[in-house]
């Protein structure tokens, strides 16, 4: 079933398909890799909340695609225990919001066991978590990356393309530290009755061979010279959309996708901001205490003298995610919001 032998070939696929292929290939490569989560391998079921593990239990059996009770503390804790003792679990929660149910295991345990043991233990686990608002209300819509940024010991990954999804998940599985792997519901490209309204669903060429994308290497999605726009996950596309509109105003935007926010590629960002002198950060996390604020501080601490204007944050407001689509659209930063803020800088 694996297509690993087609060394040079690539295939067009969605992020959901790219993630599925990655898990399949890593499980074929390494017997220690297994999946654990709710509704991930049931026959006739969903393959996880967004189809990523669909079909994998048929190839690998239910021992390696391990369906659990609805027990997020348990899922995280079991993954940690297995990781401590020789396995490489890929755990998942159906919606990133449920990470809060597993917070002690993730923050007090996974993040700290290596440190507390004086470097003797390691916890090579991945926790996959779908985030982003899709009119499901306050408890199924949050973007939580910023929470985990604040936890030393956890790496935080945010893929925005099908190519990156594979390279980054492969790297995450092989990493010896716990990795929080955030996926955006509107980027999956899940099909049929799992399709999400309002999806962007980027489809891209994904190599069938084995490759990794090292953590802490950002990517310039669009070259420009007047202003740097930094965004992760779906905000990359919001930034790109804004940059197209700004082209018409003859403002040339450089759009940067960090790909991982812990570790963060400050070098690439600094080089861009040194050139443009302006930085706008777009993020679906709420504003206060979030990633955008952290980057803003980092930039002014290090390259203050290059800044022509104050750093701008275009984020969700400090409220829970509302249900009504009209309010949700207001909550999520849109391209027009980015355009408005960028125009103020000129």
């Amino acid at each position: 079933m694996s297509m690993r032998n087609n060394k040079n070939s690539t295939q067009k696929m969605t992020i959901a398909e790219s993630l599925r292929l990655t898990i399949q290939q890593e499980m074929e490569r390494d017997k220690k890799v297994f999946c654990i989560g709710e509704d991930i391998g049931i026959k006739g079921g969903f393959g996880g909340a967004f189809t990523v593990t669909l079909g994998l239990s048929e190839q690998f059996g239910h021992e390696r695609i391990l369906d659990t009770p609805i027990s997020e503390t348990g899922i995280a804790g079991v993954a940690i225990g297995a990781a401590l003792s020789g396995m490489r679990p890929i755990a998942d929660v159906q919606y990133s919001d449920f990470l809060f149910c597993a917070m002690d295991q993730l923050v007090n345990q996974a993040a700290k066991l290596r440190f507390m043991s004086g470097g003797k233990l390691k916890v090579p686990m991945v926790m996959r978590a779908p985030g982003g608002a899709t009119t499901r209300g306050s408890q199924h819509s949050q973007s939580l990356e910023s929470y985990f940024l604040h936890v030393p010991g956890l790496k935080v990954v945010c893929p925005s393309t099908a190519y990156d999804a594979k390279g980054l998940l492969t790297a995450a599985i092989r990493d010896d530290s716990p990795v929080l792997f955030f996926e955006h519901k509107l980027l999956y490209g899940s099909k049929g009755n799992r399709a999400e309204k309002g999806s962007i669903s980027p489809v891209g060429e994904v190599p069938l061979y084995d490759y990794t994308i090292p953590f802490g290497k950002a990517k310039i999605r669009k070259k420009g010279k007047d202003v740097t726009i930094l965004g992760k996950l779906r905000s990359v596309y919001t930034a790109l959309e804004a940059s197209k509109i700004l082209d018409q105003h003859t403002i040339s935007c450089e759009v940067i996708d960090p790909r991982t926010i812990v570790p963060f590629d400050s070098k690439l960002l600094f080089n861009s901001v040194k050139k443009t002198g302006r930085l706008v950060i777009v993020d679906e996390c709420t504003k206060t205490g979030g990633w955008a604020g952290e980057i803003s501080a980092l930039v002014q601490e290090n390259i203050f003298k290059y800044l022509k204007k104050p750093v701008v944050r275009v984020t969700a407001p400090d409220t829970p995610v509302p249900f009504a689509p009209k309010l949700e659209n207001f909550f999520i930063p849109q391209a027009k919001d980015v355009v408005k803020e960028v125009l103020k800088l000129f």
Partner: protein, 317 residues
């Protein structure tokens, strides 16, 4: 069981069924945003429980809350408006399908984190006891919720403090695609409760009269200072877990077996047999409810959208 009670329970169950049928067709036409977890098939549980409660008794609900809220008396107009994401909705358009409820009716806006409502229910019951209120709390939960840590903590605390609380577990055999029997290490899920010193009972959740009678007895015991209790209602959802689910993990024969127990057909047969209603008058009730629902849809459609300005207003009290 008296005639008035039977008629009332029939009308409520039917209202829930028709409300959701309407909802589903509106959803499929793209008129309703978000997702839906339909209650179709489980109506006897909500109605059999809530028919015993008044507005000062509280219920806590789940991601599948429409039936609970309607049974507790939340208005159809405010429910429909909520699903249409309108300002006149029971949560002002801020909650959506998974969070309906109206505290004035003792229906706490529903909680969609599985198990998350359970310790909260314990807290409400504790507060009732502290304030010497004579009311009871009913906490709805699915079979899947009994595997959350929150369940175990909430149930144990209710037990040690002897609270006026009934955990109503609607065992529809599945949590999403997962069969509960594969996810517990005991034979029956009620075996769990022994470990907490909570008396548990099971009832045919497809028969509203049985659910009603059981809850009625448990409430009497609570008034004598006993409690908490756990009631398993054996039931089945006739439709998918959520909007996109086509139930491929279930056997057709199992679905047919349970559909034969349709709680609404069952009570309608009883009403006819006991000569309380005839088929004509049943049809008339169907029409009356449909009319009410059309009115609710009109109300929802003509209501204003919620205001962005109010977003900040509702974050802190």
């Amino acid at each position: 069981m008296n005639k008035k009670l039977l008629l009332s329970m029939h009308r409520k169950m039917l209202t829930i069924r028709l409300f959701e049928e309407k909802l589903n067709s509106l959803f499929l036409q793209g008129q309703i945003p978000g997702t839906l977890h339909l209650y179709n098939g489980q109506e006897a549980c909500a109605v059999g429980v809530c028919e015993n409660l008044n507005d000062k008794d509280w219920i806590l609900s789940t991601h599948r809350p429409h039936g609970h809220a309607i049974a507790k008396g939340v208005s159809l107009q405010s429910m429909m408006a909520e699903l249409f994401a309108k300002e006149t909705g029971c949560c002002g358009g801020f909650g959506g399908s998974m969070h309906v409820g109206d505290i004035n009716k003792g229906s706490v806006p529903a909680i969609a984190i599985v198990g998350g409502n359970i310790p909260i229910a314990t807290g409400v019951a504790l507060s009732f006891k502290m304030q010497k209120r004579k009311n009871v709390v009913c906490c709805f939960l699915g079979d899947g919720a009994i595997n959350e840590g929150a369940f175990h903590e909430g149930v144990n605390m209710a037990s040690i403090w002897g609270l006026p609380l009934i955990f109503v577990c609607e065992n529809n055999l599945y949590g999403a695609s997962t069969r509960i029997e594969n996810m517990i290490g005991v034979e029956k899920l009620t075996d769990r409760l022994k470990g907490y010193g909570v008396k548990s009972f099971s009832v045919d959740g497809m028969d509203v009269t049985k659910v009603y009678t059981m809850i009625n007895n448990l409430i009497k015991k609570i008034k004598f200072g006993q409690g908490p209790f756990f009631l398993e209602c054996k039931t089945y959802r006739f439709v998918g877990h959520s909007r996109s689910d086509t139930n491929k993990y279930r056997q057709k024969s199992e679905e047919i077996f349970w559909k034969k127990k349709d709680p609404i057909i069952r009570i309608e047969k009883k009403l006819v047999k006991e000569k309380i209603l005839d088929t004509l008058s049943i049809d008339k009730i169907h029409e009356e409810i449909k009319h009410e629902l059309n009115q609710a849809v009109k109300f929802a459609k003509s209501s204003p959208h919620p205001k962005i300005l109010n977003m900040k207003k509702y974050v802190y009290a």
